[in-house]
């Protein structure tokens, strides 16, 4: 069950040298899905046309050589991104039978580059959660230890890449939904700068925080995908007109001489020892490469969770008001008037966490409470931004844990929403400040559980973050979970 290729460079090389056909490459992924996914549960639906498309691409390549490294490359898509012809469920009963009319911009761009979509991946309902346990569609398991959660909300995409069912995947990150599952599953996950990538076709959770990003095994692959995904599309007015090529340029920069900040607040008491030890080793590697480490302070970051759960829920309550049973999606059959139609449809269609956040968000924006909650949260959000700005006057990027602990057990936090919310404590502030951040695998814990190192940079610095990630990647080695095939890389921390 060894994958045919490992990363996009090896794929392109094998493809162009006719070592394997695109159809074979796609089939190898589908075979792995068939073998592994019954246990892992990463996919909610598979693309029935994947093999057909692979064949078409093979035929076309017989006449014209492939123009893009992505030509024929198989990818998995989180189930809150539209792929025309496939369902977009957001892992919710509300959209169980919803089929979008058009592709998300990111999907359009991947398809234009020649990618083959394998299927849609499981997630917390409407991307609300940190363990994928809030899916209405089923359980997704961590391939490193199937008693443990894969993280969330993009749990399915993280698992698909970690277990080589898909070499790359798309996720979305509102408060850590790419980086946290990437850390839990031992893969690289990048949340880009807000405004780098069009959100058109991403089902909105919190519009001012949501950003789409890649899961990959290698920094180079993430860079290549970022170049395909980025830039204005005329359908999302929040996308900035930046040239994506700046990322390629920055990816070539030197680690030697970089100044990396260690925010004290991110290494405080709540941090698991296994994670701390792993990160210390990562820090030593980067220091040995010539990076200079310096302590920095982000005193307002500790309020990040509070701010996040006011702003994100306010926007979520607004974004989710369109699910009313009138035009599409789930409609309760119990109703006999319009008021009941709304009530029953939303009562039956949404799961408990989604309802909790709609209630919280509605409250935070309601008359008489807006100043106390939503507006106060916005003020603190501005403080957090300013502190990051100040920090980036002194350092090139920040180095921190992605999560306070390694992956936790199923049920361990699902009955305590606050404990669950705290698992995003280190990832949330990058969303609040609109900054790019990634999680790259560090050395596993003594128990063999994955650990993620987080890099947070100033706006538009994705290229440099990926460069530093690539140095860690080389030191740590690309590791694969035992259940999915042969073991690679070095020993545990």
């Amino acid at each position: 069950m060894t994958p045919l290729f490992d990363g996009i460079a090896s794929f392109a090389q094998g493809r162009d040298s006719r070592k394997f056909s695109i159809e074979e490459a796609v089939r190898s992924c589908l075979d792995r899905i068939e073998n592994l996914d019954p246990e892992l549960g990463a996919f909610l639906s598979l693309n029935p046309n994947a093999v057909n498309r692979a064949r078409q691409l093979d035929n076309r390549m017989a006449r014209n050589p492939a123009q893009s490294p992505f030509y024929g490359y198989p990818v998995a898509i989180k189930d809150n991104l539209h792929v025309a012809g496939m369902p977009t469920t957001c892992a919710s009963r509300m959209l169980a039978n919803y089929r979008p009319l058009e592709n998300a911009t990111v999907v359009d761009r991947l398809l234009k580059a020649g990618a083959v979509i394998l299927g849609k991946t499981n997630m917390d309902e409407f991307a609300m959660g940190s363990s994928t346990e809030n899916s209405a569609m089923g359980v997704t398991r961590n391939p490193w230890d199937t008693r443990r959660v894969p993280g969330g909300s993009s749990g399915g995409s993280a698992v698909a890449v970690a277990s080589d069912m898909a070499p790359m995947a798309l996720g979305s990150d509102t408060g850590g939904s790419i980086r946290q599952p990437a850390a839990f599953c031992g893969v690289l996950g990048l949340k880009p700068t807000y405004g780098r990538i069009s959100r058109y076709g991403l089902v909105a959770f919190s519009s001012s925080l949501d950003q789409i990003g890649p899961f990959a095994r290698r920094a180079q692959d993430a860079l290549e995908m970022m170049l395909v995904l980025s830039g204005p599309d005329g359908r999302d007015m929040t996308v900035a007109s930046r040239n994506p090529e700046e990322m390629r340029r920055d990816f070539a920069s030197e680690v030697r001489g970089m100044v990396i900040g260690m925010p004290e607040e991110f290494f405080s008491d709540g941090l698991d020892d296994g994670v701390r030890v792993s990160l210390e080793r990562a820090r030593e590697v980067l220091a040995a490469e010539g990076a200079e480490f310096r302590p920095v302070r982000l005193p307002s970051a500790q309020y990040g969770i509070n701010v996040y759960y006011l702003i994100a829920t306010s926007e979520a309550a607004s974004n989710l008001s369109r699910y009313d049973g009138v035009r599409y999606g789930y409609r309760s059959l119990k109703a006999s008037n319009i008021r009941d139609l709304y009530t029953h449809t939303r009562q039956e269609g949404f799961g408990p966490e989604v309802k909790r956040r709609i209630l919280l968000g509605t409250f935070a924006l309601s008359a008489g409470y807006q100043d106390q909650y939503y507006r106060k949260a916005q003020q603190v959000q501005s403080l957090i931004r300013e502190e990051f700005d100040r920090a980036f006057h002194e350092v090139d990027m920040l180095f921190a844990p992605t999560t306070p602990t390694p992956p936790f057990l199923f049920g361990e936090k699902s009955s305590d929403p606050l404990a669950m919310y705290l698992s995003d404590i280190y990832t949330i502030s990058a969303n609040l400040a609109g900054l790019p951040a990634l999680s790259v695998p560090s050395w596993p814990t003594a128990e063999g559980l994955p650990v993620g190192a987080q890099l947070i940079g100033p706006a538009w610095s994705e290229g440099r973050l990926l460069k530093v990630a690539s140095v860690l990647e080389e030191a740590v080695g690309v590791r694969r979970p035992p259940m999915t095939g042969e073991r690679q890389g070095g020993e545990a921390a």
Binding site: L81, T88, L101, A204, S206
Partner: protein, 490 residues
Amino acid sequence: MNPEFEMVVGLEVHTQLLTRSKLFCRCENRFGAPPNTLVCPVCLGHPGVLPVLNEEAVRLGIRLGLALGCTVHTRSVFDRKHYFYPDLPKGYQISQFTHPLLTGGSLSVRSGEGVREIRLHRIHMEEDAGKNLHAGIRDASHVDLNRAGVPLLEIVSEPDIRTPEEAVDYLKKLRQILRAIGISDGNMEEGSFRCDANVSLRRKGTSAFGTKVEIKNMNSFRFVQKALLHECDRQSALLARGERVVSETRLFDSSTGKTLSMRSKEEALDYRYFPEPDLPPLVLDPNWIAEERANLPELPQERVFKLSEELGIREEDAEALLLEEDLSRYFEEAREVVVRYAKEGGWPVELGTGRLVNFILSEVLREWNRKGARILSGELCPEEIAYLVAQVVEERISLNQAKEVYAMAVESLRSPKSVIKEHNLSQESGEEKLGEWIREVLAENPAEVQSYREGKERVFGFLVGQVMKKSGGKANPQKANLLLKDYLSR
């Protein structure tokens, strides 16, 4: 109305904009298409879609701001306004709340014999909702979303209006400006121009505001007038009895001419406004605003000044001629024909235009109010009215005859020319013919002639009457007068 009270009215007007596409998507902005044929995932509020602001709508908003003397803000913000209703696909309307595109400005309206300035509070951009359809459907309601996402400007006045007449004139003047600068067709029946009113009363001479009531569903100028009158009576009756006015929203029922309670302010919705995260703040380049200012067409008020000066008529007459577009176009076309008649007939143009203005302001305006625009075309087109006026100037018929002819023409929808012909109406001014009738009358009434010559001047009137009678009404009265005097003095 109870004379102790004064009415205080503020108006909120929603006007649709004449853009090709909707405010946030590329769907066509058009009235009257089959239900749900002008829709796309964006205006249907599907998951994953995002709004893209239509620049043309912004341009039209800037133009209105400049025409009304508003402050055009170089930075404004879109907000979400939340409520659940089947015609509102996203569960929120994208509007502007804390930072509207336009603030300030004013509009002058006729008030009795004078003019009053009505200040504007704000004008903001927002999207229209769809329409719920109930008529002719059993046990269900249908939703048509063609209108969902159509661009609107909401124009909010200060509570400066004091009478229903001022309110109606405000609406007419506003619509005239919207049409003059080409941003709206101002069609109340099709809903492209809609009006809500906030009405309260207060004791004359006091300055504090009373409790206000919001009135909705007035879809014609006449209904606005009726609704305000009714609401004023209702509130003044309450106050006169020592009762309180309840703060509420009331609907105007055109079949009864009354307003009915819809919901009290206690039941008012909490819209939970917050900044629309999918749209960055709208930042305008000052050069763009300057460009729009330079391209603004002549505004109605300027045309009024010009016309009143040019024709030497009162400003309010010029305003009356120009206020309604149908009528003002009718006047302009008729005026051109009158100028032609003047050239051909060799008489001063002012004679004709003066008569034309008077004729339109009295006869035509009255009939137009009664019968509407159909009296402005066909057999009653501008050429015909010009012909009628020329007949009067050239003394072929008298002014009274012309008025009769016009009334008959309107009743039967025939051309004045054919009415004149059928009734053999023409005026005789020729001395030969007049002399003939006069000589006959003098011959037939020797006794009266004798009395006149003896100094009984009252008999003159009788003799004129006889001449008119003999001519069958065709004799030019002034000419007949002069000639008769001449004959009698011989």
